[in-house]
Amino acid sequence: MAEFSRVDSSSSSHTMDKSITLPPDEIFRNLENAKRFAIDIGGSLTKLAYYSTVQHKVAKVRSFDHSAKEAPSDKLYEISVQEEVTARLHFIKFENAYIETCLDFIKDHLVNTETKVIKATGGGAHKFKELIERKLGLKVDKEDEMTCLIKGCNFVLRNIPHEAFVYAKHADSEFRFQTTHPDIFPYLLVNIGSGVSIVKVESEDKFERIGGSSIGGGTFWGLGALLTKTKRFDELLQLASKGQHTSVDMLVKDIYGGSYGSLGLTGDLIASSFGKSATADKEFSKEDMAKSLLHMISNDIGQLACLYAKLHNLSRVYFGGFFIRGHPVTMHTITYSINFFTKGEVQALFLRHEGYLGAIGAFLKGAEEDNPNQYSWGENYAGSSGLMSVSPDMYPMQRARSGTFDMLEMDRLERQLVNLPLLQDASSYIPDTVDLTEDAQAREYWLYCFEEALDGVVKRAVASQPDMPEAAERAEKFRQKYRHKLQTLRHQPFAYGSLTVRSLLDTREHCLNEFNFPDPYSKIKQRENDIALKYYQKAVKSMEKLSWEERQFALVRGVLAGNVFDWGAKAVSDVLESDPEFGFEEAKHQLEERPWLVDSYDQWLERLKGPPHKCALFFVDNSGVDIILGVMPFVRELLSRGTEVVLASNSGPALNDVTNGELQILTERIAAMDPVIQDGLKEDRLTLVQSGSSSPCLDLSRLDKVLAMVVRERQTDLVIIEGMGRAIHTNYYAMLSCESLKMAVIKNSWLADRLGGKLFSVVFKYEVPADKADEDSALLTPS
């Protein structure tokens, strides 16, 4: 595996994405609707933030009025594409040299704004104040830099999963992303600008500058310029990455001849920075001096940070500021220093969007009346550039930002997202089963897989909008965009945090939305739902004939067989496309016979013989056969047992997954045919909630607040997760505090292979948390 990754990384460095120069119309997107601006002008880079609204198409379903006999068609419901306005935050980063051009551009394109002021922060804000006021006619309102920084930091830590990472230069993946803890406080922020500020952040509004140092980025730059006659910061870093500090620094072994054993100081430690240059008759290379300087400053900052962390008993230490800003050289030296001084007890953490913190904070200051913090926000993968840096030691100059524009876009989510209250340990929960950033082989496969599937997705997208002649053109743009994302990810798998099957799927959904293909599967879903509904009663009847024990097994097989119908899986979509009559019964034949690949059916059956569950939360998967013939009979049985059921479905479309809107209509129709469902709805024992997600996968740490509330209120004691995306790509290892059932059919031969099974292998994973298991056995034991 290590070999694979080596091959991969060395080849990638040649084809590495050098810049993301974009035509201006792609840089300042949605400017015509921009409402509110903020700007953060640093020493060399300007970060512009604005809030805007995006109008895009969404697919809505509406039930026909079935009481009126003259339904316009025999279709179940109608699909309409509507315009919807959503809020989006745009952040753009560019060199200060472009500031005037950019201001002109903004002035020319600003149409509807009622804004009178622009919030500004950063050391350069006063320098450009006059220019901004003149060009934009907005009043520049200065905000405290540190306040903005902290506000921005809190915002990204809260809203962007995988925002923070540790840096490991020689590891398979340089960036190891951290799962965001639900409680982000307290933490230490070490901001390395020209000087260093060390800030302790205790809550949203409470922070304190507990210390700092004058030896910072400005010292590296200023002293470096004096020593090497090199003017640019990036060039200094480049010099440093090529130098040997040992020719300039006095090491322990230069004094001791070896290590200082009794103190555990190894010979290679620096005893005195620049200790060897205390001589008039020797020349030192620029590279060596720059390297020595870099070590000196990084070690010093790391040491102080550790001393402050220790004094205040803090273990989360984030580093930011222009000295760090995506420079692997400095991230490496700081990481090294922190490891050395804390003996690994404290990890140096870095932030993906570190460069934007000031701008985000300034924006938030200005938007306080809209209270953006009451919403959840999500990074839009389609509109964000992602983390850029790669292999700078080899090609540092290729990272030169000249002429490039970096972007971050965040969508305001309709719903506030929270943890599922039933997670055993929210702080250690990781949704994704495989981290493709670390697993090079898996990464290769999935990137290839998504690229292969792209043609099909494009075709499907065009077909979903037959009456729109420009759909083909848009679909082509979508293809280019997504392919470009895949290529970027091939070389920079860390661009958007940990690369996972989920993030690849989500990126595709974001790109589809970007080009107004809100729901390419809407018509297919509609057709399949129609067909499946016709078989519902028959399916239920066939179940009723069976004995209790036979029925339990048939219901499980039904869910599994239903789950074979999945357009997201290539193996299946090929069959579905070529043979639409591929039936439910045939699907059952495809299923693996017991014992399944993962098989705890016997335990489940035993459990069913016991008292009914209080309430089951069921995360459903696909439309059509899956939901109607697989899931609904299963739900029906639960209701009959006296278990309340909460059906959680996606808020927005993703592949052929059933959406909440669709499920509402389907459930009504089923209720009309089935008194058990009908009563369940009437008596509020069957509830439909939305998950808050528009992904084929499931992140249990970002769920609709309402769902969390319902789950808590109903004392949910069983969570059922269905399908490959939700139960295998994600949550396979998720530990819940109540009983859980994960059911999926593996419809991908590579994945089947990996898990030691074959195509259509079954995962049936019934789990009882350790403490609950004890409780149950205690209950069952006669006293």
Binding site: G43, G123, D144, M146, T147, G193, S194, G195, S197, R209, G211, S213, S214, I215, G216, G217, G218, T219, W221, G222, L223, A225, L226, L227, K231, V248, D249, M250, V252, D254, I255, Y256, G257, G258, Y260, S262, L263, L269, I270, A271, S272, S273, F274, G275, K276, S277, A278, T279, A280, D281, F284, M296, N299, D300, Q303, L304, L307, Y308, K310, L311
Partner: protein, 432 residues
């Protein structure tokens, strides 16, 4: 083999160092006593004042025990650091006529060479002002001399040792500092000398405590700066280091070591930094073309660091009140040097001053954090970086006082960089 008037009577002398034909020490009849009955009686009177505190009987007892373990002359203690070699030499002044006669020529010549000169070769210097006179060590009274030369001149020193047939004296040369390890084989091969290697931190603490105990009542070894935050009224004052523990001991040599000392034998190295005296001199040499510490300090004394450093007021126009940062505080060391114009307008003196201020303040802030973490309020700064460097001492005194709001006291010692060497000498005389 009786080249020394004082017969070696110690059990500790290694056999390979004293291939003595005489019988080894006899505990019942220590040879030394026979030779100098008068001296013993006279000794208490001529003792350094500091020892007057002890009662006569204790003193007598101690002298007896000294006699038993007293090593042969010459008595040296050596500390071979990354930049400087520090040498302390005890010159006995109570040599009797008899002793004088017996004293071998080599020893005599070494004594005369060291005591009649204040400079040795091109770079060796005797810090005359630090000399401790009428000191009693191991029952002998004499003067303690403090000599230093650059570590890179160690070969010349060894050559001299060879020329003066130092090895024929069969003395134990106690040495500490990294160089004791690094140059051990050079001592052996070039000068036929066997080093007794000692831990530098052990020696440092021992040296500090000893010098303070013998000197403080005479002319104050330890001192501090009164009114450190008021340049017009900042004056040096003696300080009595009674009940010194716990103590933060900051040794600023080429690099810096910070020790928390809880008692003479109980201490730990809290941390260290590579930004020390070597960094100051190294950077000054690169930035100004100077070549010695004195030159660098001289330049620094004439320069203005605020032209080089970016101050808080340069960024905020005044104090950064939200965080209680005064306008005069340095926001970014060398921060102004990011601009080409300013690079072109600063002088070498400015650069030297900024380097000094940067290194000194940094040591100050790391020290302050250590003091807080270790909960220690007294800090003693030692090491040769502080030699003739009142600028740095006042800066440290200021920084400790200002940033701790008066909680921390910065203390200094007159013998700055020699404590390790003194500790090594003590190890020769009183092996621990």
């Amino acid at each position: 083999m009786a080249f020394n008037g004082h017969q070696p009577d110690d059990d500790t002398t290694d056999e390979d160092e004293t291939p003595s034909k005489q019988p080894r020490s006899n505990k019942e009849m220590p040879g030394g006593i026979r030779n100098e009955p008068n001296n013993e009686a006279a000794a208490p009177a001529g003792r350094a004042t500091s020892e007057r505190r002890t009662s006569n009987s204790t003193t007598r007892h101690r002298i007896d025990s000294f006699r038993k373990t007293r090593p042969p002359f010459p008595w040296f203690g050596m500390d071979i650091g990354g930049t400087l070699v520090k040498l302390v030499y005890f010159e006995p002044k109570d040599i009797t006529a008899e002793e004088e006669q017996e004293e071998v020529e080599n020893l005599k010549s070494i004594r005369r060479y060291l005591t009649s000169n204040t400079a040795y070769g091109k770079t060796g210097i005797r810090d005359v002002h630090l000399e401790l006179q009428d000191l009693t060590l191991c029952g002998r009274s004499g003067n303690l001399h403090f000599i230093r030369f650059p570590t890179h001149d160690l070969p010349a020193f060894l050559q001299m040792g060879r020329n003066k047939h130092f090895s024929s004296l069969h003395t134990t040369l106690c040495a500490t500092g990294g160089g004791a390890y690094k140059f051990e084989s050079d001592f052996r091969t070039m000068a036929d000398l066997q080093l007794h290697k000692l831990d530098e931190l052990d020696c440092l603490i021992r040296g500090v405590l000893y010098i303070d105990s013998v000197v403080s009542s005479v002319s104050s070894e330890c001192y501090y700066f009164e009114n450190p935050t008021d340049p017009d009224h900042c004056v040096q004052r003696p300080y009595t280091l009674e009940n010194p523990y716990p103590l933060l001991l900051v040794n600023i040599g080429s690099g810096v070591s910070i020790l928390a000392v809880y008692s003479e034998n109980n201490y730990k190295r809290v941390t260290g930094t590579s930004l020390g005296g070597g960094t100051f001199l190294g950077l000054c040499c690169l930035l100004t073309g100077c070549s010695t510490f004195e030159e660098a300090l001289e330049m620094a004394s004439q320069g203005e660091s605020t032209r080089v450093d970016k101050l808080v007021r340069d960024i905020y126009g005044g104090d950064y009140e939200r965080f209680g940062l005064p306008g005069w505080a340095v926001a970014s060391s060398f921060g102004n040097m990011m601009s080409k114009e300013k690079r072109d307008s600063v002088s070498k003196e400015d650069l030297a001053r900024a380097t000094l201020v940067t290194i000194t303040n940094n040591i100050g802030s790391i020290t302050r954090m250590c003091a807080l973490n270790e909960n220690i309020e007294r800090v003693v700064f030692v090491g040769n970086f502080l030699r003739v460097n009142t600028l740095s001492m006042k800066l440290l005194a200021y920084a400790m006082d200002y940033w701790s709001k008066g909680q921390l006291k910065a203390l200094f010692m007159r013998h700055e960089g020699y404590f390790g060497a003194v500790g090594a000498l003590l190890e020769l005389l009183h092996p621990s």
